[in-house]
Symmetry: C2
Subunit: 613 residues, 2 copies
């Protein structure tokens, strides 16, 4: 799942006119407005929603490019429908992945032909992306790529731009983190030594939060805080606004970590570049480092490595694994309460729209131990809204949840002991044969991933076809990945692993202790959406043989919410699939029933939903 | 399948001593002996079997590296057992793909540390590989990479080295080729223009044979001939020994193609490099071009592109598709006759060893229309020999084919209208429950590939897991790819497509008209081998829907030989799998029965084997 919002159109004419004036003043012909913040965050704080402000498109992924006369917005399949609904006529939509549709880079390069200058806020584009653009601009006889210190959209936005968040940080205790930041620093320093680096620049917010066992509140739904970090064999520096540092945080970090102002890293890097870093012992940066960061370093003094903290963070320790499992059980109980409650409400004919229903789900979650907040805005979608993959209902205008329409609910929460994310697609009335068939095909793909066994060293890339194979046989498919890594009380989308067709997913093996979502879907535009999402844990599987002494891995499902039997056609399931479904439901029942001792109605509902197929 | 030979050990001590003397004289510390010829052929003529001569290892893939005191031979999982049996104690075996085993490049680089020189025959290594080695040598402080014009192993081999083949070429008529070489030249010139090249160097032998509709007899089992070609917008030059050119060939090529001596390309490229090629309009080479070829060109005058002829050749035209289908039917009939005959022979207690049995199969094939020869040495293997993946039996020493042992037969032929390749694993007695289970797991994987449906644009890389999934569940696997492209009266292994874990297979989509093998297996060392191989054709599938207007593709199986029901456990097959098997057997019967009208015994056998499960 991901972030998105309403489907109303913003008139961007005046904003674009102002931006174009500023572009002309700055000698910029083509201006790039990425959706990311200075940390290449997927989800951003309101202050950073520049691409949304200038284009009107509210989806979580996409890039805007503006010229003196044109404007393009590129986004992926999850958002085609939403973008069509939100963009006004100033904008051309570039549907990524469809044949003959240019990427935003290709579009920008074409517009820059004939020596035109391309401008971008250097902090909002990764150094790697800037390098590619620079080279292509050169080879295609475009003008300069100007990496700007100021942001032109901010100037247009001006007084209306939201403020930078300033909430204090919190310390994540060992009972949740499982490993002290001192131990993590030891490991990271070993990695820096192995890579022969003089130090590591950390710019991803979830990596910094994980490394120091700190959490923040700067980005909605993501417990991270604006910061940079620099770790060398002798020093650890956290660059963060001092206003966010409480006495507890200061005590936690002790003498080992130096705290400096957020923006001080740029000057520090310049100094370090001149003093300590050498061609033999370079500064290590990761592929997410912004161009603004690497511009502070000379080309021969830094090198880009695979993010060691991202890789370490993806493998959860024992405490985190236990926490994630427990969080998913409590979260499952909340969803069970919600879906049981919703059935009763609908059968009574009560009026609930997508938002008020989701509010009730949040109430059930709030009552659970260790609850912090939602991990993303709940995608509570009735009928055709379910086909907008990252739909987010708006109060007052959203649709009514109805007994005889498919209801898709993708939701999750942040608990101190783990982050949850799951999707259930339900029908409380009589679904059509087509809806049942589609749901069952998605379920078969879901089960194929859940039960997959693969040799150690396999990536999530190779598993993707398992989820899609039954849909493909019918000439059906879905335009999103099958799985994403999940953080532990961190971002609900976490790198580097994933199940899907992105080549990067083939570069890292699934390892024991990693959590990943399993979420195939099917979307019938204008009618309904289906998605079945569980979080699964990578575990070693006991196979009868162990060919090649490889070890064989598979998944344990940790999400604990019943599937929708009313939407399942048992005739389309084979014996193994039925067995999995029945065993899953037994496990869900066993793990959640004690939480419902005092709630006879919900317990009865659960018992019914978890009965054998 | 692929080429291999006997499992006897050669004493390489004297050869290595001589080679080391020559290395010292030439100031070479580390000498690389690739298994390829000057055209990066996978299968080679006896004159080019340098790696086999120096190491004693006869497998089709592998690389030898020799230093003053050490010698290593690296090969892949198909050949581990065979290499262990063939290498003498002078050699260290580098088992590629196992953890912590260096590649031959890594091994050579380690040996070159401290400024030692690495030598290689520049014609036997691709320019791309040489470049990587050059750069790594530099970064790891090794000595020079010396690209030699002469070959040190040839000097050791001396008078015993086989002669260069000189058989005349033949013209492939339009009834088999389906497209004239004139039309192919028009297409290639369009591609050269598109890539803004001044000309294209063609060095792969099957590409040249395909382009000019010529076939030769220079490499056993591969109907190709030693040659280079150069195509520019105005010229087409075929570099080939004039002794191979008959009047018919000369007439066929007419005025459009200039014939020059085989080695004249090197001087021509130097001239062209100085006269016609420019930095704007470079000479195009492909990744298989040898270092010797690119050394004739300046760095800024050539560019490496994806082989356009390889890509065009992979998609068979209508005539070729029909020819391939017909060739596979006739080839299937030969195999049906053979397997029926073998059953009778074994039940009578007749003595047949692996070679004499295979000879009988060849007799059946020879009698078929358009037969030219085998497409690779038949892998006729009884019992434990089947576990040597590319086993090749030797007269006199090979094993007896027995009624109560698994018999694996991987074979194929060259016909004027197509190339065949298939494997059947049979048991004429009572197989063990373990053998039945293994066979059925392999069969399930085979069926999963055969029935796969995937959107246009999908690669063979993503299909590999379908073939392995059932084995993996049991902790089993096989150490070879699942499929390779197949030529049309050309090489039985043909690029660029494949089903397997090699990343290159993910770079090209499967397209309608391509032929590929589907050959999962399982090998129990010292006991038995199982492989089930059919050739399949990529076709468009009529799906009930066409989501995203993508078109959905799948396979039609063209190999026409029954599976082994005696080795199949119907309880392990689901309904869809049984349905596929029964339909396949009906098709085999319908397509082959008319060829067996006068052979009641074989027809009865076929009827029995093709009956429903």
């Amino acid at each position: 799942m991901a972030v998105g919002t309403s489907a109303s159109r913003t008139d961007t004419t005046a904003r674009l006119a102002e931006l174009r004036k500023l572009m002309a003043l700055n000698n910029v012909d083509v201006y790039i407005v990425p959706s990311e913040d200075a940390h290449q965050s997927e989800y951003i704080a309101p202050v950073d929603a520049r691409r949304e402000f200038i284009s009107g498109f509210t989806g979580s992924a996409g890039c805007a490019v503006v010229t003196s006369s044109k404007a393009s917005l590129s986004t992926d399949g999850r958002y085609f429908l939403q973008a069509e609904q939100e963009l006004d006529s100033n904008w051309e939509l570039l549907k990524q992945g469809l044949p003959d549709v240019p990427t935003w880079q290709e579009w920008a390069l074409r517009e820059a032909e004939g020596g035109k200058n391309v401008g971008v806020d250097a902090s909002l584009i990764s150094a790697a992306q800037a390098k590619v653009l620079l080279e292509k601009l050169k080879s295609r006889k475009g003008g300069e790529l100007i990496g700007m210190d100021s942001n032109l959209v901010d100037m247009v936005w001006s007084a209306d731009q939201p403020l930078k968040p300033l909430d204090p940080l919190i310390v994540l205790g060992m009972e949740f983190a499982g490993k002290s930041f001192e131990e993590k620093l030891v490991d990271i320093r070993k990695e820096i030594e192995k890579q022969k680096g003089s130090g590591l620049v950390v710019s991803m917010l979830d990596e910094i939060a994980w490394l120091f066992n700190l959490r923040g509140n700067d980005i909605p739904f993501n417990p991270v805080f604006f910061s940079y970090a620099f770790v060398s064999p002798t020093e650890a520096i956290l660059y963060v606004d001092e206003n966010k540092i409480t006495d507890e945080v200061r005590k936690h970090l002790g003498e080992l970590v130096i705290i400096k102002p957020y923006n001080a890293i740029f000057e520090d890097l310049k100094t370090f570049n001149m003093s300590t870093a050498t061609e033999e012992s370079k500064i290590l940066v990761t592929s997410s480092a912004s161009w603004a960061l690497t511009k502070s370093l000379s080309e021969n003094k830094f090198t880009t490595i695979k993010a060691p903290i991202e890789a370490a963070k993806a493998v959860k320790n024992e405490t985190e694994v236990t926490g994630m499992k427990n969080a998913h059980i409590r979260d499952g109980v909340a969803q069970i309460q919600y879906f049981a409650w919703l059935e009763k409400a609908l059968s009574k004919g009560d009026f609930y729209d997508e938002v008020s229903a989701a509010d009730q789900l949040e109430e059930f979650r709030k009552a659970k131990e260790h609850f912090v907040g939602l991990s993303f805005p709940t995608i509570s979608s009735a009928g055709s809204n379910g086909a907008i993959i990252h739909y987010q209902p708006e109060k007052n205008t959203c649709a009514r949840v109805e007994k005889d329409k498919i209801y898709l609910c993708d939701s999750g929460a942040q608990f101190f002991d783990g982050t949850t994310d799951s999707t259930r697609t339900l029908h409380y009335g009589t679904p059509t044969p087509e809806e049942i068939k589609s749901y069952t095909l998605v379920l078969k793909g879901h089960i194929a991933v859940a039960t997959a066994v693969f040799p150690k060293g396999s990536s999530g890339f190779i598993l993707d076809i398992l989820a899609r194979q039954y849909l493909w046989r019918e000439g059906l498919d879905y335009r999103h990945g099958t799985g994403h890594g999940v953080g532990s009380f961190l971002n609900v989308h976490e790198g580097p692993i994933g199940i899907g067709t992105r080549m990067q997913y083939n570069e890292i093996a699934l390892d024991v202790g990693m959590f990943i979502s399993n979420e195939p879907g099917y979307y019938e535009d204008g009618q309904y959406g289906i998605r079945i999402e569980n979080v699964v844990l990578v575990v070693e599987k006991k196979t009868p043989n162990n060919f090649g002494d490889k070890k064989y891995y598979g998944f344990d499902t940790v999400t604990m919410v019943p599937m929708c039997k009313r939407l399942t056609d048992p005739l389309l399931l084979d014996d193994d699939e039925k067995k999995w479904l029945n065993e899953y439901h037994s496990t869900v029942y066993a793990n959640t029933k004690d939480y419902l001792k005092d709630d006879d109605y919900t317990l009865e509902w659960l018992k019914r939903e978890c009965g054998p197929i």
